[in-house]
């Protein structure tokens, strides 16, 4: 795979190092001459190009047209947005990933058409958040570009669905309980399954219905 990283700060450098170790074809674009020089001393000059990754000329020279992945990891959200938009819409790059520094920008990136965003603040917050709220349903993954979530929840005695058959539970539309972990043993779930205190259930839920599911599965608060 050919991966282009734009932005040679800490994130770009560490990412490049890992990808190079995996023997991918990697190019890291850095705007500042001195930083580009430093990077090429560390990573090897074949992996580094000095230039403004927001400029179409630089993008052409870097080979955006044949890149499989473009990752924008500069410290400026507006730069990351433009890099990803040009990669996607001008160079038809299959996969573009943007680092979002201000978490409030994540939504607008998606609205504009950049679906894959990574926000350090967002990730750290969600990790803390998961630890804090035990009665919560915890997102463990996203499907279909984030429109569907895979969630897990450990049922407590307070959960209104404990003791019920799955067929009798009024789940939000489009939601399925697909799997169950009881006493460390995994099992599939059907309409007859009766849920117990301590069960860990895995469900698929449309993202916009996750809150509804929380009300149904957890203590109702």
């Amino acid at each position: 795979m050919y991966l282009i990283l734009v932005g040679g700060g800490n994130v770009g450098q560490q990412l490049a190092r890992r990808l190079i170790a995996k023997e991918h074809e990697v190019l890291i674009l850095e705007k500042e001459g001195s930083q580009a020089q430093r990077l090429s001393n560390i990573l090897g000059e074949d992996y580094v190009m000095h230039g403004d990754g927001c400029e179409l000329h630089t993008q052409k020279a870097a080979g955006f047209n044949r890149a499989d992945v473009v990752v924008a990891v500069t410290g400026e959200d507006e730069d990351n947005l433009v890099i990803c938009q040009l990669a996607k819409f001008i160079w038809a790059v299959e996969r573009v990933v943007a680092r979002v520094n201000d978490p409030s920008h994540e939504a607008i990136f998606r609205e504009i058409g950049i679906d894959d965003t990574v926000s350090a603040t967002g990730i750290i917050y969600s990790l803390i958040d998961q630890r804090l709220e035990q009665d919560e349903i915890v997102p463990v993954g996203a499907l279909h570009r984030g429109h569907v979530e895979v969630v897990e929840a450990v049922l407590t005695g307070r959960s209104p669905i404990v003791g019920k058959q799955v067929r009798d539970i009024q789940l939000p539309q489009g939601t399925y309980i697909v799997y169950l972990l009881r006493d460390q043993v995994g099992q599939t779930v059907d309409g007859d399954t009766v849920l117990k205190n301590g069960d860990m259930v895995v469900a698929l839920v449309p993202t916009d219905r996750a809150d509804e599911l929380r009300t149904v599965m957890c203590s109702g608060t």
Binding site: E55, E78, I90, E111
Partner: protein, 166 residues
Amino acid sequence: MRPEVRQRPWVTFGLSMKVVVLGCGRSGAMLAIQLSSQGHQVTLIERNPEALRRLGRSYPCRVVIGNGLEDEVLVKAGIEEADAFIAVTRGDNTNIMAAQIVQKRYKVAKVGVKVADPLRADAYRKMGLYCLNASALIAGMMRDWMVDEPFKTIDLYNTIPPEMEF
């Protein structure tokens, strides 16, 4: 207080637009002054209070100090009721991002963007943003003035020559 129309008799067809201008550089300040003097309701967003000196001694318009990429700042500037948004900071990417936020999220009818890089302006024009590129305008108009050709319409200047395409 006198009625608005009397105060500004040069508003001839009663059309006063609510405009948010992002960036109080040379273009932004000039635009804010021009629009205000024509009776439009202008709010200027600028990060650096120092830059407001470009407006002269008496501010012609409302000013919000802050980052135009933040919703809070845009809302404070009245983006929800705005008829137009013009992004003229010196950062092309800031202008491009702000314009798209305003277009997608606040559905502002007219959104204009200053883009200094001719190729980037061209790319975003193709993607549906109204981008003006000063270099293209100056080059084209200087050329026509020099050879005594009559000036053309703006869209004929506001493009890149095929030789520049990549």
